[in-house]
Amino acid sequence: MISDLFTATVIMGIISSGIRLATPYLFASIGEMFGQRSGVLNLGVEGQMLLGAFTAYYVVLKTGNLFLAVLAAMAVGAIMGLAMGFVTIRLQATQGIAGIGFYLFGMGMSNLLFQKLIGVVENINGFPIVKIPLLGDIPVIGEIFFQQNLLVYLAFLLVPIAWFVLNKTTLGLKIRAVGENPEAADSLGVSVVRVRYFTVILGGILSSIAGASLSVALLNVFQQNMTAGQGFIAVALVYFGSWRPFGILAGALLFSMVNALQLWIQVLGIPIPSELAVMMPYILTILVLALSLSKDKGPSALTKAFEREG
């Protein structure tokens, strides 16, 4: 039975679904990374994802327009990010606890709206698979990498873009400076407050897209609490990836591949308790966090509110 796992079709299936499953983690973790690099820990990702997932799903259900759906989700995410920013930047509230508050808010509101406005689980037509010309025709590789839906491509494109913005642009420099030494950044004329609002709102937008990618691209359905902890895992992946886009990519892929493997183990009926298979990625994450050699402590000003002296 175990040998069933090692056929070409199954391995391809695992890699292909692993790549798809990495999509929400990539969007949410990259967004979270920008926030943390500027000094803001947002624990409300799960709530933002749930509201984004619901919003996108609802818009598709009512209009059938996928792009409008993602835009609407982005708008909701921006508002959630703005609220998180106001509370943690302007009012200097404890970031971790404020995030838990926004998580509960997002969960409650998405459940409420779903029960009130929809009520039944209903499938929709989500983002179709787009085969990239030429590349998509390559045997095996083409099938795995270049026959996915639009949001999958965007998620993977986001990684090098985030790396470029963070390391090669003035904006990125400002973000890093604000996260490492806000007082120095401030004395050089960088607006700590403005940079942090920017990253937290960006984080909200990307988290909402992450949620939308679940409800209108990967699963094409909305269920209550459908994110099932993925928002928290996205936060964990930022630590896992040592606050670097490519580190996050590696973590997201590792996590989603193990997840895909676990799904296939169940599909093939291999006699490993499914519960054990489901918990594997979590155990793995803890182990990797514990054993990772780089004891990177992260941005120095992470979770510290900034206040100008005098």
Partner: protein, 389 residues
């Protein structure tokens, strides 16, 4: 604060602002309910009808109030654990998993030994529940102290792992023999012996767990403010570098804070089984068993300003909101999930209100500097100087 000799107007003004500070959580809740009223209006429901149904459902009758108290027990226990952890500056959001593991361990023992006297089994089960939670909280503590793993992340992961262990146990080793035979295969355990169930306090579902939880609240107060251990946990929470300099084993106290916090959550899980359901049953999710108490208990503790005694009424208030939410759902057809959302807003508003509290304090300090007042600065309830002998 004894300033009877003061003739300045400022001290009395300051006292007013101190009252104002203490009432911040209440204002925060009122603000959340007002936002909730807007949502209710948008959903086409009359907020006054909805909220009066909620109040009626939570506190309107003897039975309703008893249900509220039943709901408040896990919130209070989780809240007490939260007080310890957050005072020690560790963010334990693993209450859900710790509850589940505590419940599993105590249920397993209760089903395995069937001929013990009831009181003895209840004591053993309480210890087992606390132990299960302590293990599930202590592990992230060790990971944080010795492997530098962020406890927020590890506790979330531990929640997910606990849910899977619960699902596995209730579908396999611990499944009710009747269900194992039947085609339905409902993932639940057998019922506990009648003798093992927590005694009830009145002809309602309210059980003795309420009294135990209240006694424990007093114990946590004593622990935090009257013992060396509590002093050290709070010292580590306030300033790790200074604590280390002062000779406190910082790592040990980080582990202890999470371990104790987990023990309370585990006890909450045990009481949910031995006091309310008399068996464990899973719908596959953690909320199916905990009712989200692992998070709502944090809300109650924050509302109680991380003070174990104030957390008692706070837990009753939030227990009432949860019970009343169902009544509201029946009367105005607005899903009770609204209350989860509003709980989130309460958290956000409470942590935001700290800003105004600090601003008041600063104004006061500025006034002292200006020589208008010679009253010592207020400590915000944080008297770390009281070192127990």
């Amino acid at each position: 604060m004894s300033q009877s000799t003061k003739n300045f107007s400022l001290p009395s003004k300051f006292r007013l602002s101190a009252v104002f500070d203490a009432l911040m959580p209440v204002f925060a809740t009122i603000a959340a309910l007002l936002v909730g009223a807007i949502f209710l209006l948008l959903l086409g429901a009359n907020p006054i009808t909805a909220y009066s149904a909620l109040l009626e459902g939570a506190f309107g009758s003897f039975n309703a109030f008893a249900e509220t108290l039943v709901k408040s027990i896990p919130l209070l226990l989780i809240g007490l654990g939260t007080c310890i952890a957050y005072r020690g500056s560790v963010t334990n959001i693993g209450g859900e998993g710790q509850m589940i593991v505590g419940a599993l361990l105590s249920t397993w023992i209760g089903l395995s030994f069937i001929n013990l006297p009831g009181w003895l089994m209840i004591i053993i089960a309480m210890l087992a529940g606390s132990l299960g939670g302590a293990i599930w909280g202590g592990l992230p503590g060790l990971l944080k102290a010795y492997f530098n793993v962020n406890e927020i992340l590890s506790t979330v992961m531990m929640n997910a792992i606990a849910v899977q262990i619960m699902n596995y146990m209730l579908r396999g080793p611990l499944i009710d023999p009747v269900q194992a035979e039947a085609a339905s295969q409902i993932p639940q355990t057998a019922r506990l012996e009648v003798a093992y169930r927590l005694p009830r306090l009145a002809p309602t579902r309210l059980h003795i767990g309420l009294l135990i939880a209240i006694l424990l609240a007093v114990a946590v107060y004593i622990l935090l403010w009257r013992t060396t251990l509590g002093y050290r946990i709070r010292a580590v929470g306030q300033n790790q570098a200074a604590s280390k300099y002062g000779g406190i084993d910082v790592k040990k106290h980080i582990v202890l804070a999470l371990l104790l916090s987990g023990a309370f959550a585990g006890l909450a899980g045990m009481m949910q089984v031995y006091g309310v359901n008399y068996r464990m049953i899973t719908d596959g999710s953690s909320t199916g068993f905990t009712g989200n108490a692992g998070f709502n208990g944090i809300v109650a503790a924050l509302f109680g300003q991380l003070h174990p005694i104030i957390t008692i009424p706070a837990s009753i208030l939030f227990g009432g909101l949860l019970v009343g939410a169902n009544a509201m759902q029946r009367v105005v057809q607005v899903p009770s999930a609204l209350i989860t959302g509003l709980n989130g807003l309460v958290v956000v508003f409470v942590v935001s209100s700290e800003y105004f509290r600090k601003r008041n304090q600063r104004k006061h300090l500025a006034a002292i500097e200006a020589g208008l007042d010679n009253e010592p600065p207020r400590q915000n309830g944080e008297n770390l100087e009281e070192v127990p002998a």
